[in-house]
Symmetry: C2
Subunit: 224 residues, 2 copies
Amino acid sequence: MDGVRVIEIKKSIFADNNEDADALRSELKRRGTYLLNLMSSPGSGKTTTLIKTINLIKDKIRISVMEADIDSDVDALKIKEATGIDSIQLHTGGMCHLDAEMTRQGLDNLPLEGVDLVILENVGNLVCPAEFDTGAVRNAMILSVPEGHDKPLKYPLMFSVCDLVIVNKIDVMPYFDFDMAKCEEYVHMRNPKARIIPICAKTGEGVEKVAGWLLEEVNNWKNK
Amino acid sequence: MDGVRVIEIKKSIFADNNEDADALRSELKRRGTYLLNLMSSPGSGKTTTLIKTINLIKDKIRISVMEADIDSDVDALKIKEATGIDSIQLHTGGMCHLDAEMTRQGLDNLPLEGVDLVILENVGNLVCPAEFDTGAVRNAMILSVPEGHDKPLKYPLMFSVCDLVIVNKIDVMPYFDFDMAKCEEYVHMRNPKARIIPICAKTGEGVEKVAGWLLEEVNNWKNK
């Protein structure tokens, strides 16, 4: 695992996570650093989507990545090898989500000086991560075509807290019963303002829209 | 939702879930009822797999199903319509898993008299459900091809507690980078005794092996 640091995350001691998350957001605002919390089911393509997106914008803004995982180190190494950017692995030691204090433990291990964007890849789970504000400016999630268009019905909180829903693996749409119109209807039932971007991370199709959304977000955060 | 009962599950009050799970298993043993706990990621095909499996064995043994979900009722209705068997929906009210006491709340709402097999479809989540013994005789999980063969590396506990790993959606294998040999290697790294059955729930391919495993399990439980 040469060149990838692994941080063992400890359980939080803060009683009020929402308060702590607001405090973290204020700190990040002062530093001019935008934090994105990226969530999804296991195997929806978070890491591949990140790699493709980062490679489109890494010459324009400075980016770091925190990869949360219960145990393995494969994702942080993949990101580092494929993009060359700073990437650390956060081990949650079995914990199913990250909260603001756990996110801060990760940030404390990154050089944040001059960093415009930190992306937190949360634990693969549509339930628990949605319940905890990490201190991120925005939440985004990836729903992959093989999972089915009915997921917003089954995991309501996840879809209601996300500002961006990336629909990944659209290349395999012909082999699955995935109805994009129904997907959009269900997502907007949970969050009428959610932006939906269909992509294929493998081929890169649509990823420029995700990159564009992120660049605009980061610029707005710095300038508002 | 005609004909499907929805049970709102309450948080458990028991301090020692392992003890409670053992007690539930003993009760089920006395009744001659086998309980299977089926877990997976969201969208891996649990409900379709159940429907196909149940239709192969429902004339041989008496089966009931409990569908756990955070919010929706679609799965219990689907099971009932497609198989004709007793099926209830358990609402976890946002909770990410079921423990033994929550499972008991569901069982209390089923007619168990003469029922040979109860299948619990747990919340779609590879993290938290693995941490709680539900009182089931066995744990099974479904890993679908689009999720990738590396999942046993990333969700170690889930794979170590499962006696059966069903690899679903093998029909789309040509469109994904899924290595079945690696998958088997990683599963057995977590649990050397785990049985692995590749299937396509959509077409029914391989489902007879799952049905055969279940029938044998139920018979052994009754007769040992």
